[in-house]
Symmetry: C2
Subunit: 254 residues, 2 copies
């Protein structure tokens, strides 16, 4: 039975603790620099709380360094253990934890929240490790919660990370903008939910380029001019409208 | 039993014919300026083909003017019938068909394709009409295929149309860009499907502003600078990255 330990009690480790609590992996404990946070975490997932980093058991298989990016190398230096130490960032090098003989990266390609824990079963988990032994352990761990472990080197992981920014952060921000725009015009965002759901559903059977519709894709200058007239009071939306419409027109011509 | 007639045999009327074929609405026939297209349509949906616009039966309840935007008023003038004549554009005025005593607009807020016909059951259908009688008929028609008829005036319909461009056209275009970027880097778009699906699923329980994650939302200048460095060879992606990241940073501060 694999033993894991959580360092940091934020949303990343909470999502993992929730997922591993449904497997045979033994969650040995949690440490956080903020004692109240690790107390909450330990109660929520029914695992031991460790208040001092020096008291962390040294014999776990994997240590999840789920702290802020800027803290990873600092905490890694403080940590004196024998197992595999991993961080879960999509963008940082595993060198940040390479003071440990066995180290790696374990990055789930998903946008996580505290409100609803992720179901990782279809989520690709990108793994990378200092050595073959550690890689096998990380693969086993990934298999416990997901059907899609991915062996990805740092360069490709970074490409995926930038892409995920477009796929999630940017699309979600378009929803933020529309939500404000609709509410300001006394309309409910909920009206657009079916078309939003369909947009992503369609990708399961249609290449996105073939799924493209709308005035920019058919170079309908009249409708685009009228849209821009409506958006003239919303300069931020107007700028985004122009740059994305131009990009669509150019791509659909190709 | 309501009788309807299709003028135009493109994807819009195909989607409607498919939907109404599962109801008690009688589909009287189809006319298209291109005879081969109306032949295909008439065979596919097992309804009568009319080759001359002058032969169209005058006593149907509703005529679906599913032709290109630029043709709507022209075809409307040629059409000599007694029923309600409607167009299905999200952005055009019903004045384009107001040469008919009873007229209206019937716009489903959905991105339609020929490959997979839409299930309209949850799709809002915006209806507008010249008079109360016509509005009741259009409401009855909408009820046959959807749970969400919406009584929306032209100004609000235009606001919804612009919003749908952001919600569908622009998000889909981000997927087009990522698809190319990933393929160029020997990575599969499919890896991002779970995060794309989750992004829209999350909207069902979380306000998009609260769902926002990523470097721009936490003003992580270091990661953003490195992303831009990766994108330096992709000027189009870089421009979009900058404008959307700036917009995210400003909104998350508010």
């Amino acid at each position: 039975m694999l033993k894991i330990f959580f360092i940091g009690s934020g949303k990343l480790n909470q999502n993992f603790a929730n997922a591993f609590s449904k497997t045979d992996v033994e969650m040995v404990g949690v440490y956080s620099a903020t004692v109240n946070n690790s107390l909450y975490f330990s109660k929520k997932f029914n695992i031991s709380q460790f208040k001092d980093i020096k008291d962390i058991p040294t014999n776990c298989d994997v240590y999840f360094l789920g702290v802020n990016d800027s803290q990873i190398s600092i905490v890694s230096q403080e940590l004196k253990v024998n197992g595999i130490v991993i961080h879960c960032s999509g963008f940082l090098s595993k060198n940040l934890v390479s003071n440990h003989k066995n180290n790696g990266v374990f990055w789930p390609i998903q946008s996580l929240s505290k409100e609803h824990y992720a179901n990782f079963s279809n989520v690709p988990i990108c793994i990378e490790a200092s050595d073959d032994f550690s890689l096998r352990i990380l693969e086993t761990l990934a298999d416990k919660i997901s059907k899609r472990p991915l062996f990805i080197d740092e360069q490709k992981r970074k490409i995926l990370h930038v892409s995920a920014v477009f796929a999630n952060n940017f699309t979600n921000h378009l929803f933020v903008l529309i939500n404000e725009f609709l509410n300001g015009n006394h309309l409910e965002f909920d009206i657009l939910m079916p078309i939003i759901q369909e947009t992503s559903q369609k990708l399961t059977y249609l290449n996105p380029k073939l799924a493209q519709t709308g005035p920019a894709s058919r170079n309908d200058l009249n409708t685009m001019a009228q849209h821009q007239s409506i958006l003239s009071k919303y300069p931020e939306l107007l700028d985004i409208y122009k740059i994305l419409s131009k990009s669509i027109s150019e791509h659909q011509k190709q």
